[in-house]
């Protein structure tokens, strides 16, 4: 597609439920990133995928968070047993190998845990 597509755009879930967020990157972009943006705060790195290399999971805040990517296409971020502090906008970005052109972000998924 022309841009990075994320779904759903909004998700309201009850505390303790599992949620799955989807990201469809720009075709041909080998790198894919997940960031979290809490209200009024900067972007917080979660995880990075580059081709077939092992992902950099150093930003995942707990073992309730996991992410997968199939080849160089779609990625899913899963949050198990959601907590209220998980409420945030989850942003996905992709880039070609040359990151000098900057990442292209999706519009994000706004997650609200009630």
């Amino acid at each position: 597609g022309a841009g990075v597509s994320q779904s759903p755009s909004n998700k309201v879930t009850e505390k303790g439920k599992d949620v799955e967020l989807r990201c469809d990157p720009i075709s041909g972009h080998t790198a894919l990133y997940w960031y979290r943006q809490r209200l009024g705060q900067g972007l917080e790195f979660l995880i990075y995928f580059q081709g077939n290399s092992a992902p950099d999971k150093s930003g995942l805040p707990s073992d309730r968070f996991s992410a997968e990517r199939t080849g160089e296409s779609v990625s899913t971020l899963t949050i198990q047993r959601t907590q209220q502090e998980d409420s945030a906008v989850y942003l996905c970005a992709s880039s070609p190998r040359d990151r000098g052109m900057g990442y292209t972000f999706g519009s994000g998924t706004r997650l609200t845990v009630v």
């Binding site: 990133y33 917080e44 990075y48 150093s58």
Partner: protein, 114 residues
Amino acid sequence: EDQVTQSPEALRLQEGESSSLNCSYTVSGLRGLFWYRQDPGKGPEFLFTLYSAGEEKEKERLKATLTKKESFLHITAPKPEDSATYLCAVHPLGGSGNTGKLIFGQGTTLQVKP
């Protein structure tokens, strides 16, 4: 610890009133510094990448500059449509592997009044 600090947190300008946004950073080494624009409800939009001290880049009313410790985003004769949150991010050297992790500042929210 790698860190990015942006100032001011918020800035109100009259249309045509030029000003600058500051991004101070502390990293062990810098691969690149990025500026993004973020409109409400949308993902960040890439503006510039700077790589070395003394480098400058321009786009319409925006000019980004870089020193060894900070970057400035200069806005000349702003218009109301320049109202947005401007994010600064650094891509540090070091770490294991070829991580694409960016470290973001908290952003400066700019409001330009007609």
